[in-house]
Symmetry: C2
Subunit: 153 residues, 2 copies
């Protein structure tokens, strides 16, 4: 299960993607609209900024905004910032490889063989899903729901 931190971060990114190129957004507004504790959100946005996904401006008229277009930010990049590596075991991580402490021979570890496949399957999805893709899917889902409601009336 992903942490609340990751959920909040993804919500924030989707929120900012919706308002791409409309100037900096206030943490306060984001926290209020998405029901995220403000102080907690601060630390999350800061991490996303330090990773290059977000940019910010201080002072009056300041706030946070996407560092690049929603087409160029993937869900995978964001998850790695907030949750850490995608890999279920460190020895199959592409971005943060580490030897498993309890593992003997890495080449013949059965757990590793399976988890490598799992990691690749997860990466295949999240590294090929951009914020723009997410917005599009939300739009389709909202349309589909609207039709269901219209039909049921």
């Amino acid at each position: 299960m992903i942490s609340k931190k990751t959920k909040y971060g993804l919500k924030a990114l989707i929120y900012l993607a919706r308002q791409y190129e409309q100037g900096p957004i206030l943490i306060s507004d984001l926290a209020r609209d998405e029901n995220i504790p403000k102080k907690f959100l601060e630390t999350i946005l800061l991490a996303l900024k330090n990773s290059g996904i977000l940019q910010s401006r201080k002072g009056k008229g300041g706030g946070y905004y996407l560092g690049r277009s929603p087409r160029q930010i993937t869900v995978g990049q964001a998850i790695r910032v907030m949750e850490g590596p995608l890999a279920p075991v460190p020895c199959v991580s592409e971005t943060a490889y580490a030897k498993c402490t309890e593992c003997g021979n890495e080449n013949t570890c059965g757990i590793r063989l399976v988890m490598k496949d799992v990691r690749d399957a997860i990466a295949q999805i999240v590294d090929n899903t951009t914020l723009a893709d997410v917005l599009e899917r939300i739009g389709q889902a909202e349309l589909a729901e609207k039709n269901v409601v219209d039909f049921s009336i």
Copy 2:
């Protein structure tokens, strides 16, 4: 990342699968051979037993053994016992559905749409990989490594 508990549990299952139908195996032997803290292993094996994956016999000549053939035990079943549901968010879990506390409309939640795909991709792998499959892959990997060693001599 999966917990040590899950890793230990999978190691234990692979160990027991290797010795399927050779009588009960002692916790002590398993703990020693796989370098798992014995007391911790006890709780893990008990959980696997309570879920039906393992069976046990008490007293002299007792120990743990697979409750069914290695062909009929999947990695997914085992992971769910030790780690909980595969789903990254509770609202897409097939085996332990729960509404996300912070989620408004489930049908149009962008995070949910992506995480549903992730869950399905993970399940596709681990629910179709049996302990027998793992043993087979380990065998192949050992063979491959042996050939590399032979060649390099």
